[in-house]
């Protein structure tokens, strides 16, 4: 769990000078981000600061206007044929879960290993079952998403991403669409993941959780990372005036 990473591996995520524009609006204005293996990085900042956009660039859901992104040393280029292979190494958990409603929990998790990794049906289902057990849903294998609570759906979504054995997991406000009583169960799963050494980049407003699991925090505002720090440094002694203003408001 070190922030610098060792030299034998390329970093899990390297993003250099990422620029993303929507028309005349600059969503990201040259952002650099490096995430070492087993590191947990949290992106915080006011809404519209570019946190989610940055996260979505990291698996190519958004095409960057300039800059480069590498996942474990492999170039991620949304215009290249290799995009699918690189994306398969990046797990993504969405605010709205985005489970496949026509499939059971088990089928949701087994689909991509079968289709993308070309595992046999049996192996894919065994792996899916293992991941669902890990997120505490061993008794919901055959349930359809509509039969599950929000918290359960989000845990299926986490299992679905894990089943691809990704290099890094991206969480885009994973608890923002959940009722308060279900936030805990999802955070518990994420905490286990972080402790098991999973590389994670998360956008979250759960600052207590960020304080607990994140190795480093980036504060974004208006499409730039204004400050880097450990959760303690950042939350208790923010350096940048915009950051201190933000944390004063929400802490």
């Amino acid at each position: 769990m070190n922030g610098s990473g060792d030299n034998s591996h390329p970093p899990a995520v390297t993003a250099r000078q990422i620029v993303k524009r929507y028309g005349s609006l600059t969503a990201l204005g040259g952002v650099d981000l490096e995430v070492a293996h087993s590191e947990v990085v949290a992106l915080v900042g006011p809404s519209g600061s570019g946190k989610s956009t940055l996260l979505r660039c990291l698996n190519g859901l958004e095409t960057v206007d300039s800059g480069t992104i590498e996942i474990a040393g492999k170039r991620l280029d949304t215009r290249a044929q290799t995009i699918h292979a690189v994306r398969a190494e990046v797990g993504m958990v969405f605010q709205q879960f985005n489970l496949f409603p026509h499939l059971t929990a088990l089928e949701n998790v087994a689909l991509a290993p079968q289709v993308v990794r070309r595992l046999s049906r049996e192996v894919a289902r065994a792996r899916a079952k293992e991941k669902l057990l890990r997120v505490g849903l061993g008794d919901k294998l055959d349930a359809h998403p509509a039969e599950l609570s929000g918290g359960q759906q989000q845990r299926v979504a986490i299992a679905r991403a894990l089943a691809m054995h990704p290099h890094v997991m991206l969480f885009d406000e994973p608890t923002s669409a959940l009722d308060t009583e279900m936030i805990g169960e999802v955070l518990a799963v994420m905490r286990d993941l972080a402790l098991s050494g999973m590389t994670m980049v998360l956008v979250s407003h759960e600052l207590n959780f960020v304080r607990e699991v994140a190795n480093r925090v980036a504060f974004l505002d208006a499409g730039s990372i204004l400050e880097w720090g450990t959760p303690r440094e950042m939350f208790d002694h923010p350096q940048h005036p915009r950051a201190s203003e933000f944390f004063q408001k929400i802490l």
Binding site: N59, G60, L61, H84, A85, R87, A88, E89, V90, G91, M92, F94, Q96, N98, L99, F100, P101, H102, L111, A112, V115, V116, H144, P145, A146, E147, A157, R160, A161, M164
Partner: protein, 248 residues
């Protein structure tokens, strides 16, 4: 009782003296005769309908799904295809393909009829399929993409299985309409149910009973189709998800 007999034609004059039983017996024999003449033409109607609808489904799927590729030229061409094919009456399609194209390409009545109905219906089906795919939320595409699926993989495993639910009911509608519209090919002399009705009428001049029975046979076929499509909707229903049909 004479007024019960069809529109004053000369063939089936029934005297009141014969009574109701005599009347019914004569009507029954007549109906049997007409049915004997009509029923052999039913397979032709079914085959024409099936072949044109299969053609319409294939063409419709291609034209309806191509816009997903997001190539402006392709999208424009598919829109143009739909607009043109949908904007011309089926009867004109039939005349154009049989008399126009047919004389150049040497098409027989059957191919021309199937082609005309198939092309006309492909435009409607393309729109239905396109609408079904559009009904799938963006998040589904993103989830599939984030798992490393290619566009074709996500179409095959994520988008289409959900889209069929919205596609089935209007497609069933079109199938029923297609079965009925297949009667239009009788105009180029293709011998199917409606053509058989016209032939019977022109031989025996029985209009009321003939067209009543032709209508009844079409109705029997469309009602049977309705049952099949209900079954399909049930087959594709998912517990607690969308559609009003419950999975048992």
């Amino acid at each position: 009782m004479a007024w019960l007999v069809g529109a004053g034609d000369g063939v089936t004059v029934v005297s009141c003296r014969g009574g109701v039983i005599d009347f019914l017996a004569k009507q029954g024999t007549l109906a049997l005769n007409i049915l004997k003449f009509l029923l052999p033409a039913v397979p032709a109607t079914i085959i024409i309908t099936l072949l044109s609808f299969i053609l319409a489904l294939i063409l419709g799927a291609v034209v309806g799904l191509l816009p997903l590729w997001r190539r402006p030229v392709v999208t424009f061409l598919t829109r143009a295809y739909v607009d043109v094919m949908r904007g011309v009456p089926l009867l004109v399609h039939i005349f154009f393909i049989y008399f126009g194209l047919g004389s150049v390409l040497n098409l027989d009545r059957f191919s021309a009829g199937v082609l005309a109905v198939g092309i006309c219906y492909s435009a409607y089906l393309a729109e239905i399929i396109r609408a079904g795919v559009l009904s799938i939320a963006q998040g589904q595409y993103e989830a599939a993409a984030s798992l490393g699926m290619s566009s074709l993989q996500s179409l095959r495993h994520v988008v289409l299985p959900q889209a069929v639910r919205t596609i089935i009911p209007p497609t069933a509608n079109e199938f029923i309409a297609c079965l009925k519209d297949s009667s239009l090919v009788s105009i180029i002399g293709l011998r199917e149910l409606t053509r058989a009705g016209r032939e019977y009428y022109s031989q025996f001049f029985v209009d009321f009973q003939t067209w009543f029975l032709v209508g009844l046979i079409y109705l029997a076929m469309t009602l049977a189709l309705t049952r099949v499509t209900r079954g399909l909707e049930r087959r594709f229903a998912v517990k607690g998800y969308g559609s009003g049909v419950q999975r048992r």
